[in-house]
Amino acid sequence: MRAELRFTLNGAAVETFVRPQARLLDVLRDTLGATGTKEGCSEGECGACTVIVDGRAVAACLFPALEAEGRTVVTVEGLRQDDGEPSEVQRAFIDKGGVQCGFCTPGMVMAATALLAENPAPTDDEIRAGLVGNLCRCTGYVQIVDAVKQAADELARKERP
């Protein structure tokens, strides 16, 4: 039993067949080979599988694949800019040391990207609140929060004429 699924992944149309009970995470990782999105807990607690669906950060491990029908999904692979450079958020994570083992990083980067789209000038507390669903065991979050601040500044600078 397979159901047809069509959606937009990182700007490209995707057509595939999935088991009705499949999670978006399975389709991304196993069917489409987009392994940048990680599975950390399978119950929506750790945020390693965070992707952006129609502008909202969601846990792909809880998101039924068929719910993605007709929607726009962005994963960490889709953040690369047209000139091949990393996005401002990715660049800031590199510059500020928001990366250690890196397993939480794709999810963290996606959560931060969604956060800044919604709130372009967050306070430190708003950044922490925005990332509260993304667990990291390596960094203590300090340099991650610094990175999100740098990304916010950089995005604001770019917005200015």
């Binding site: 940048g36 750790c46 990366v99 083992c101 890196g102 922490r128 609140a129 669903g133 065991r137 390596c138």
Partner: protein, 803 residues
Amino acid sequence: MSDYSFVGNERARPDAGDKVAGRTAYIHDLTRPGMLHGKIKFSEHAHARIKHIDTSKAKRLPGVRAVITAYDTPEVRVGFLADNFALKKDKVRQLRDEVAAVAAVDADVAREAVELIKVEYEPLPGVFSPHDALLPGAPLVHEVDARGRPRTSNVVDLKYGHHTGDLDAMKRASRHVVEGRYTTPRIQQTCMGTAGCIAELDGRGNLTIWAKTQIPFLAQRDFTKALEAMGLEGASARVVVPALGGGFGTGLDTHCYEHIAILLAHQTGQPVKILYDRAEEFAFLSPRQSAETRVVQGCDEHGALTFRIVEVLQDNGAYTSWGATYPSVMMLPVTSLYRVPAVSFDAKIVYTNNTYCQAMRGYGNPEVTFPIESNLDELAREAGIDPLELRRKNANRPGDLSPMKFRISTCGLDDCLKAVGQKLDWSEKRGKQRRDGRGRALGVGVASLVHVGGSGRIYRSDGSGIAIRLDDFGHAHVAYGGVEMGQGLVSALTVAVAESLGILPEQVHLNQTDTAACPWDVGTHASRGAFMACNAAIRATKLLRDKLFSLCPGVFEEIAGKALGKAESKLGSDVVEQRVGKPGKPEDYLLRHALVTKRGLPDEPWARVDLAKVLRAVHFRQAGTMLSAEYFYEPPSELPDWEQGIGNMSAAYTWGAQGVEVAVDEATGEVEVLRMVNALDVGHVLSPQALKGQVYGGIAQGLGYALYEEIKSEGGRVLNPGFTDYKIPTASEMRFPIDLVFVETEDPNGPFGAKGVGEPGLVPTAPAIGNAIRDAVGVRLNDLPMTPERVSAALDAASRTRR
């Protein structure tokens, strides 16, 4: 202070670009042609005889390729005491015991097949605390030892102790004595990337295993023995380490699941992957050991420490991993944190039917630093001395020989304590019974740490090999056997190779750890990664430079001459020759920023020769050569006598202090950390970003240990196997400001003066917080974690006593 080009500079991790892009491949992302998926059937009892295992239904399930038990596979022993078995026969000793395993075409089929395996048990009474396990007539977890000799008690056959100084005399010389009992819990390492491996055997029986390990070479030895047990004598085991989604000590042993994957691969002739999900990781991967500790300390009327007694009772669980050897590291702070003339240390490690435990970051150090530093705080109160002053008074000094015979080369402990006092406004804040705007009680606390900073010798060899090969384009390809698990070894090693060789960090390429390509390394533990790798790199690059400079005479002049002739085309060849000079001696040449220069020549472009040009010139000629070098570095340290507790186990020691300010809500018992100062004697800062990451991350783990984390279990069953019920700190809990102070004491054994910094961050956090709670509300929390329930209970008990 230094003219380093790269050491100490702000610089991004070399692996960060791939990690932020999702390009880094973890075990979860790897696959092999024809790969099967393995699943394990775990025991349903904590202690029981296995009566019968029925695998017939599982074997008939379509898609299943193999179902194995201990009854139809060779016996593979696991653990350095060989008291564990990949698959269990006759008896299970813990709820996570592996009784059968399946390989199938996908993970879903494997999971379904595991459900179809039926095991008949005869339940046995179990022991679930070390106290119960020591009672006369307690059920034996192991009836025989690894050699089949009958056992008479549940005490694990590992002896650790230390007894120096005249304890009785020093007790008599004490004006103040304080005794206390403390407990620390089992906690989970919770690597964000769960455990897993892929095992693959070639047609000759040689194994390649992609393993989430911190000890590729000791694992190679274990796997080689497993191959022998399977009848594949003489076969090779190759261990490849993919990107690790965190390690924190979970990779210091080989695991039953890895040996089971090998058995399944052998049985099926296909690669087999076993990957734990989060629930399995929580319930079936070994946590940090729990410990109960009794501490007695005394001081004279001036606050000088007189003696210290520490007795530890450790719950080993059902089998023995390297984590059982925590007392080897407990000795370090017990004997050598502060100057103590008489020290007595005993540790007892006891089998129970709880999940068996393993290493975690800090490896015994946090387990005893919490008791020692909590108790010391009480001693200061008893003596009427400011706790910070008492610590400074007794701080170790450079040149000290500690009771364990540590030769303390550099020691910035007093500077760290001083910095904490200043930055925390200690004298204005301590003992002032202050309250914040919400009516919460405020207090400050401090605790210190000592840890191995120059590797820690717990094995016959404490060495690390490195092999560096220069290619035709001036790039250095580095094969190093240590493991990057997130800590930033790649940052330190890249900088060390670039700095000491004289090339750019961008030209340094670290190869994935692979036992087939990398020289031997004992493992990535004991905060040794950067210390060892950089020391090895400094020595290997010296060999490379010597070889390069020996090849330069003539070659350099030819290339420089050509460049000069090209730049100034009207010069005659004789003038060129004269300006370039005759071939020099090896010591005339220099290499910096990938450019070869020669002493005495002007600083002009033609006289700066690209390293790559020299490398190609010496390669592509008659009797050409290429440049590579290997070095095996053994640190100057001794393997201690563990029963006596004597030996200089490290080439350097890392010191530090943490101070915290907390707010305690007396109505709810909730503790909030308001700010922290962390001062650490790091020797020398190699890579600021990586160093800060290690310390911040350590603090977060220390905070979890102090306030939140505990594996709860009942009858050996883990009751909170998920992040819903097992809380680790989030960005929200880490909202307090942290002041980092790095004291640079330039250790003579350290690469560029640096000492190891991987573990220290978490060591003093819990006692610093406990001491701050004591300052805020007057109660002492002796048990971790210091949850609101425990704080409330302590406040209630104190108010009952007062009434």
